[in-house]
Amino acid sequence: MDYFIQQLINGIALGSIYGLIAIGYTMVYGIIGMINFAHGDVFMTGGFIAMISFLVLVSFGITSIPLVLLLVLLIAMATTALYGWTIERVAYRPLRHSFRLAPMLSAIGMSFVLSNFAQVSQGAKVKPVPPIVPGGFTLLDRGGFSVQLSYVQIIVVLTTVALLAIFTFIVSRTRLGRDMRACEQDQTMAALLGVDVNKTISMTFVIGAALASVAGIMYLMYYGLVDFFMGFVAGIKAFTAAVLGGIGSLPGAVLGGLAIGLIETFWSAYFSIEYKDVAAFSILIVVLIFLPTGILGRPEIEKV
């Protein structure tokens, strides 16, 4: 039972990270109907920038952990958002009315560019950082096994919940959110009614990338390392989460992320750790076949 609770905690923390990445997928897919294949690598880039800015800030003698975290958060979000904006501007916007394979392939190319850029500029080795927020609570201590709830896990979950609330508010209550929903339904009509479609799509990418960078920071804090290849698998899993939750739905993305995180953690805990990715990918296939609209998604109507 204690083991079960421990795995539950770990799974929720991991799932929150996937959920944050999944929001980026779900927003972009909702608005322009393409899988932003490079999004996993945007998450990786966010993690790298967090790692670098953390090192630099610490060497400047800033020792207050909350201040460092806040600065890292701001720097990483701003820089990664710039990456998201640039990627959309360079690789996707010229292809918006091209044939259907083109944006997908361009996105795959962009994914290679990002991961190999990180490899070339920062080296291929894994980058370990010392624990940024050490410690935690011991919830239960019976016999040899104790259930740990670390501060990092609390931060991860709280951040996800807060960001989900903020962005749900933005999408449902603000001008930008209304523009986004308008573009999602009909870009031409939205443009005719005075919505700046290009700007709205750019903002979607900026928000998605900023959230991915937060996920990158959480990953860095949780696992204490980043490497240039982490974006690929995390990206596919987050996409699975977005599909599972119902593409286009923000709470769905986080819900899907939690489901994937929990399944992965329990699979590793009770079955075999080697096949945890196989489990995640199999879920993707099964979900797409039996539940293509996801848990909170709306059915797509087939039109001639």
């Binding site: 109907g33 393409m34 290679f112 560019v113 001639v304």
Partner: protein, 441 residues
């Protein structure tokens, strides 16, 4: 885009330097923001294992100024091109000459391919490169059946390549079966896996199909890594038997190929033999594809690519159409995989990563979906390109990624050409894959 409107308005007498300067300064500022941490600071593990960093502001400055100057030059070039936009009509003689050239291209390429071992007999490197190119030509043609003809975006094609390679490797090392028996078996097994993948994804389209096939490819690779007792795990399978010349091994001793034919032994014999084997296999793929394209099933593939709903309304069985496309493509992938295994003599899961799938897909798209000659030329271009960048080993994938993005922007329909349906009404209506969004009719 406000920029292009502005630029086209400024096509007049002289470039709008203020606008161009503004734009390139903006690009430079963005580049500075992007690269400040990733290039300006380099991190690495220090002597005690903890991370240390040092700055590279010179590199950062170089890159930002390259972006600035490049942006400036690009805008100037755009202005110059926009100014000289006069439609040049091609003289009819030149056009017909180009037509003849196009028609002569395929036989010329075939003749060249046949003569490569004769011309470059002493250049081992070129022969190896030729084998590599032909392997990718075959893979490209195989994937072309799925993506180019049937219009099903498959991102996990490498899975079938892997199935073929491991089938041959396991059958040959465990049961000692010969290459020529294993080749069709590998093809059949891969086709079986193609159907296995095809069944669940029958209802999916477009991007969803792409991501499921990608997941399938990754699952196959992960199983190959983790099923250590069967596949040897990450270490792979070594000492896979080399193919023999219909029973005659390529060895120096008695009874070998050289001995029987009474010629001096040379290791090149085997390379040349392998070259012709893959050439024949690739041509077989091409021949089968061309023949299938004329049959009802090939027509059904093309109809499926153009419009799935119309296809179903006309009574075409989309289930069998999709499954045969997957199976045919997979079979060729499997055969190519078996050849790969026997050529390398060693295989490991590393050879079957997603990058490989993307590479083959890039060949098919670059060649213009559905065009056979286009795929062959694209394979030549892609392998040639990566060989050119071999010196810049670590930048190779970076260049490949950029090339993919730029190609999509520049020629999304492929470099060489695009294949129209084999049959169509004499009055062509405006229906093509370009006009019909998939999943919407």
């Amino acid at each position: 885009m406000a920029g292009s409107e502005h630029a086209s308005a400024a096509v007049s007498a002289r470039p709008d330097f203020v606008f161009i300067l503004k734009k390139s300064v903006l690009s430079a500022v963005v580049a500075f923001g992007l690269f400040l941490f990733m290039i300006g600071v380099r991190t690495d593990a220090g002597s005690n294992g903890e991370l240390v960093y040092w700055t590279r502001f010179a590199d950062l400055a170089t890159i930002v100024s390259i972006v600035f100057v490049g942006g400036f030059a690009l805008e100037l070039a755009r202005w110059a091109l926009g100014r000289g936009q006069i439609a040049v009509a091609m003289p009819p003689q030149l056009a017909s000459g180009l037509q003849t050239l196009r028609r002569a291209l395929a036989p010329a390429l075939l003749g060249f391919a046949l003569l490569v071992p004769v011309m470059f007999y002493n250049q081992r490197y070129l022969l190896d490169l030729g084998i590599l190119v032909l392997t990718y030509v075959m893979l490209g043609w195989g994937l072309n059946v799925v993506v180019g003809l049937a219009g099903l975006l498959d991102l996990g094609y490498v899975a079938f390549y892997a199935v073929g390679a491991y089938s041959y490797a396991l059958l040959a090392t465990t049961f000692g079966l010969s290459f020529w028996i294993c080749l069709p078996v590998a093809g059949i097994l891969a086709a079986f896996w193609g159907v296995l993948l095809g069944f669940p994804v029958l209802r999916l389209r477009g991007d969803y199909l792409a991501i499921v096939t990608l997941a399938f490819g990754e699952i196959v690779r992960l199983i190959l890594i983790n099923w250590q007792t069967l596949t040897g795990g990450p270490n792979g399978i070594a000492s896979i038997p080399r193919p023999s010349f219909f029973g005659l091994p390529f060895t120096a001793d008695e009874g070998g190929f050289a001995d029987v034919f009474g010629i001096e032994f040379s290791p090149t014999h085997r390379i040349v033999f392998l070259y012709y084997v893959i050439l024949v296999l690739a041509l077989l793929t091409n021949w089968v594809t061309i023949r299938l394209r004329g049959l009802p099933i090939g027509r059904a593939w093309e109809a499926l690519r153009e419009d799935e709903i119309a296809c179903r309304s006309l009574g075409i069985n989309t289930t069998t159409t999709k499954l045969t496309a997957f199976a045919t493509g997979a079979m060729f992938g499997g055969i190519a995989g078996a050849f790969f295994a026997t050529r390398q003599g060693f295989i490991s899961p590393e050879s079957f990563s997603f990058v490989e799938s993307a590479f083959v897909l890039a060949i098919v798209v670059l060649g213009g979906l559905g065009s056979q000659i286009g795929v062959a030329l694209a394979a030549l271009t892609m392998i040639g390109g990566t060989e050119l960048f071999r010196g810049l080993e670590q930048y190779r994938m970076l260049v490949f990624g950029f090339a993919m993005v730029l190609l999509m922007i520049w020629r999304p329909r492929g470099l060489i050409g695009h294949r129209a349906p084999t049959v169509f009404l004499h009055q062509r209506t405006m229906i093509s894959a370009a006009l019909v969004k998939e999943g919407h009719g």
